[in-house]
Symmetry: C2
């Protein structure tokens, strides 16, 4: 039997086509899906390419599929909302088989984890190179609206949900998106601003501060560092997929006591800049995390 | 100046970041966008890869960007809804420049045409090969709900919105998505079922019939054929991006008189199959349009 887009479509529908997802009026199989939400919803979109985000010949299609979806769920986590549904583009390399497709779907299912995530659409096609994945996710807020990057205020406390640095050693393929933590930080912690640490604390902290019009003072000794990494890696490596969150001071103790997050610093005035204090003193944090570069200015 | 994802982000926001789009509570620049719709909305997602959907070295980034978005708008057209907003993934090859990026954005703008389409998110990254594009579009219904593939009834009239076949000669890069026609067929024509002709009339007619549980009888002499193509090409070539629509008999005359579409056949019982009648008699139409194939069954 030839493995083609029609067969992948069948496999996808078997696995993800019809969970009991409220608001999905029409799922996969038409020109578009029809969705309904009575309240504002969140949408995000993130691609994962063989040779850029994973090496399929080493990690396999399952890990690739898992990462492609998990990165997107991390964006929903950063908005403090619950996963609702997804659309998935798969570009299969020549020679891909049903075994590869099953592994990919296993990886998507593993990333979806406890969430009844309907896959309501997408695209299946031939890739001109290795495996190409692109996922769009939608999320629904619970009792509180989505959390933006822009709400941090001077005096807020900065927390992160887990250890940072050295993700390339394996964590970038195996991380669990912090959906539950994001919901807790939003609903119980009344998070003022939140972002997921995809490009490294140094870059993502700058983004949160820029969006909020504030500065930050990080306590170097408080930054949780992954085993095998160091503080510099925690600042720069990226792909941690933990959450960085600005909490109002009154809700910090509960979030820390309940092990949702650990304290790493304080929101300060923009004029004070973005700094880190270590045993060697206080220095600016460069915006030095990962950024895709293509070429000259043309 | 280095051309990187941050610079492309700036260029994108300059061009598409802040149109006056109702329902866009938070646009591009956060982990996710926040959207609101009081009524059900349509979402679709379609990728376009260099070497599969276009040849960037021949057509340039502008035509590539135009096609990537136009294909998606064609899916909204097929649901009879109005474009609302989009999320765009761009994988830039090594050596891409700001000139390429500007051309790409010109192409997106050209496809967006008269619609105030907000680009509310997406992903910008390095491609392991040529230009890689993936677009997610959202659409909002007007006075009538979205049109599915599944509503055709025996006795409905089948119409198409323009000539078919030979798209590879250039039409696949220059087509105008039939958004206005789709809205007219839905709102004035009370379309019962609709699909866009992306993989060829032969395949897409089978899809509409399968979804609706009906058959179809096509009048070969009535199928509009693009100059330079023949009837066989009109059935099989694909990438026409015209609409195929099943109309209730009472609304056909108005749609034809107003040149929204032309009549090509009739919806019949499923047991009669999917057939075409030409001067040589009546024969089945094979489901023989374009389908991406990858390899063996593994």
């Amino acid at each position: 039997m030839v493995f083609d887009e029609a067969r992948f479509h069948e496999l996808l529908i078997e696995r993800f086509g019809a969970p009991a997802s409220p608001g999905v009026e029409l799922g996969i199989g038409d020109d578009g899906a029809i969705l309904r939400s009575d309240e504002p919803f969140v949408i995000a979109k993130d691609a994962s390419f063989d040779g850029v985000d994973f090496v399929a010949s080493e990690c396999g299609a399952r890990a690739a599929g898992r990462k492609a979806l998990a990165k997107n769920l991390s964006d929903l986590a950063a908005m403090g909302v619950r996963p609702w549904c997804a659309l998935v583009t798969v570009g299969f390399p020549d020679g891909a088989t049903e075994v590869d497709a099953s592994a990919l779907l296993d990886g998507l299912a593993e990333a979806a984890g406890p969430f009844d995530l309907a896959i309501v659409g997408g695209d299946t096609k031939r890739s001109p190179t290795g495996l190409l994945l692109d996922v769009t996710v939608l999320g629904l807020p619970g009792v509180r609206p989505p959390v933006r990057r822009s709400g941090a205020r001077v005096g807020d406390i900065l927390v992160v949900t887990g250890p940072l640095g050295g993700s390339i050693g394996g964590h970038h393929l195996t991380f669990t998106p912090r959906v539950e933590a994001g919901l807790r930080l939003n609903e119980d912690g009344h998070a003022r601003a939140m972002i997921d640490l995809s490009d490294g604390l140094s870059s993502d902290l700058h983004r949160l501060c820029a969006a909020s019009g504030v500065g930050a003072s990080i306590d170097g000794a408080a930054v949780p560092v992954r085993a095998g990494a160091n503080l510099e890696g925690a600042l720069r490596d990226g792909e941690d997929y933990e959450l960085l969150c600005a909490l109002p001071p009154e809700s910090v103790a509960a979030m820390i006591d309940q092990r949702v997050a650990v304290r790493v610093g304080t929101v300060v005035a923009a004029a004070e800049g973005v700094t880190i204090t270590t045993g060697e003193g206080c220095r600016p944090i460069d915006d030095a995390g990962f950024r895709h570069r293509f070429g000259g200015a043309g």
